[in-house]
Symmetry: C2
């Protein structure tokens, strides 16, 4: 097993997958730098992303490789792939095709911010003024 | 249980924690928009972050709440907290205190990018030219 120092200071890829064989991935828009989504990759999704230059994830709900945009056409062209100190997370910087990322219809999956409400509790406030597309038209059964 | 529509279209917080009671968090620099780190929160870390305005995570290795900067002094002042469509991930936009985030010494934990090497394989290339501090001086046993 590689030492922490080898993992942190080296130029070798030694991806550290979790018990389910995955690691979290944050994807940002190469132009606006906005965070678009957080998803997961397994080794195959990582290899496919490197090989094809298009973002591939592992869908935990569908239990299969998920080529982003395979249904919607909203493909993500990878501009840069980074890994973190522990090599247990990935950062993808991508060029969006179609101007949207989220299955709900918004550009980013992060379309709501946390705010304190009048009663001292916490609520969500929408930060994207409109959906970029109608999910019902794109995700037909 | 809340429906997917209620979770995605509503203004109520209904954080969806994983089987270990956590969810992944991406933290970006509010000024440069750079991704600094990916870590995890449990409900307590989320509540403490909202309440104090300083980033709190859950340390999986130490199995306890981790107030970022508690040892190093590199505190993260929260400018914005967002959640995603499924409410199973968090995005923190922060102002960094001390100019560094990573325990290895770099500003961001993502200090290496994935490149193809001459033999057709994949390697890592350092993207930060120097460490911001000497970890040995800060993290004394």
């Amino acid at each position: 097993m590689a030492s922490a120092k080898e993992i942190e200071e080296g130029n070798q890829i030694r991806l550290k997958l979790n018990n389910s064989g995955m690691l979290p991935v944050v994807t940002t828009d190469a132009n606006s730098k906005e965070v678009l989504m957080i998803a997961y990759m397994n080794q195959e999704a990582f290899d496919l992303s490197v090989e094809t230059g298009e973002a591939h994830y592992y869908s935990r709900s569908r239990k299969k490789i998920w080529r982003k945009g395979e249904t919607s056409g909203f493909i993500q062209k990878i501009k840069e792939i980074k890994t973190d100190c522990d090599q247990d997370a990935i950062w993808l910087s991508v060029e969006m095709v179609g101007g949207a990322c989220c299955h709900v219809g918004y550009k980013s999956c992060f379309y709501r911010k946390v705010v304190k409400d009048s009663s001292g509790g916490v609520a969500l406030e929408f930060t994207e003024s409109e959906k970029k597309y109608d999910p019902k038209k794109i995700y037909k059964k």
